[in-house]
């Protein structure tokens, strides 16, 4: 069972859904207030969606300096898994933990509707329970979702397979190369604009988002199996 810290900022509003999704997937999930400096031995940190600090100045620009972010950055630099959903993605971009930035939607309107996305990378802690190329339907709910990065950065993301999700068919916000989510060079820090936590039970319209959270426990189980194999490797005939 993984310890999953869900960080709450003033203005977070997807924190409860995110906590529920992680708990339903079997994780030991708990809240951390943005003024806390201790992640309480978290294995995984999730920055949920919302409108931290009212999106003043730029989305995520002020939250990125919250006291908790020093611990989140240290966790990420040490290789720990971090997921930013929607506003969380914006905060990770502002913090420099993910490349690029999320700008005003090309159509200027706040968009709240389901979109189709394709899973492009399954070698991250949050996507390993998916199949590469699989298409999902997840809701978006954002005004600033247009992913922007300079050409060099975009080429680097593509070359290193760091585009994790891409919009399919319709690019709702004008994102560069239909990018809906990316990961860091170390692949442990991941950001996504659509909301997987809003599609984890059939009663709310689908379960396409559930495996983002189930991936965490699957990663843990695989890691564990790896440890067992490593130990077992001393016995000839095993493996």
């Amino acid at each position: 069972m993984r310890r999953v810290a869900v960080v709450r900022f003033p203005g977070s509003n997807c924190d409860a859904d995110t906590l529920d999704a992680a708990r339903d997937a079997g994780s030991d999930a708990y809240y951390v207030w943005h003024r806390d400096r201790d992640l309480q031995q978290a294995d995984v940190v999730i920055l949920p969606g919302g409108f931290s600090y009212g999106d003043y100045l730029r989305s995520g620009a002020i939250a990125r300096f919250s006291p908790v972010m020093a611990a989140v950055t240290a966790h990420a630099r040490a290789g720990g898994a971090v997921l930013g959903i929607c506003n969380g993605f914006q905060i990770l971009g502002e913090a420099g933990l993910l490349a690029g930035a999320l700008m005003r939607n090309a159509g200027l309107r706040f968009l709240s509707r389901p979109v189709r996305i394709r899973v492009e990378a399954v070698d991250t802690p949050f996507t390993l329970a998916y199949r590469r190329g699989e298409e999902l339907v997840l809701p978006i709910a954002h005004g600033d979702g247009r992913f922007v990065a300079d050409e060099r950065t975009t080429a680097e993301l593509e070359a290193e397979g760091r585009v994790v999700w891409r919009y399919v068919g319709d690019n709702p916000n004008g994102s560069t190369r239909e990018i809906a989510g990316i990961c860091s060079a170390g692949r442990n820090v991941v950001g996504i604009m659509p909301h997987p936590e809003r599609r984890t039970v059939p009663a709310v319209g689908g379960t396409d988002g559930a495996r983002v959270f189930l991936s965490l426990e699957a990663a843990h189980a695989t890691q564990h199996a790896g440890d067992v194999r490593a130990v077992g490797g001393h016995h000839p005939g095993l493996c």
Binding site: L57, R58, A61, I62, F65, G93, E94, G100, A101, M103, R104, N105, A106, G107, L108, R146, V148, A149, D150, G174
Partner: protein, 84 residues
């Protein structure tokens, strides 16, 4: 220490799509201002900064822009210092 008035202009990078600027441009054309070309929308910030000299105030303001007020990925900034 003297109080200075620092005016900072933050603009979206020229190479980036500025949908707000485009929408304002279209509205101006619709109103008959056919002479309007490109329109870009940015932010204007006015700060009161205590510093020993105008140069020191500008240096401090640049540090503020680099850390918080402008996003280096998407925005450029210019600033001007006047005595308050």
């Amino acid at each position: 220490m003297v109080a200075y008035r620092v005016e900072i202009r933050v603009m979206p990078r020229a190479a980036l799509l500025d949908p707000q600027g485009q929408a304002v441009g279209h509205a101006l054309h619709a109103l008959g201002f056919a002479d309007v070309g490109d329109v870009r929308v940015g932010k204007h910030l006015v700060l009161r900064v205590e510093a020993p000299t105008p140069d020191a105030a500008a240096t401090r303001a640049r540090a503020m822009c680099d850390r918080l007020l402008a996003n280096p990925v998407t925005e450029d900034y210019e600033l001007q210092v006047e005595s308050a």
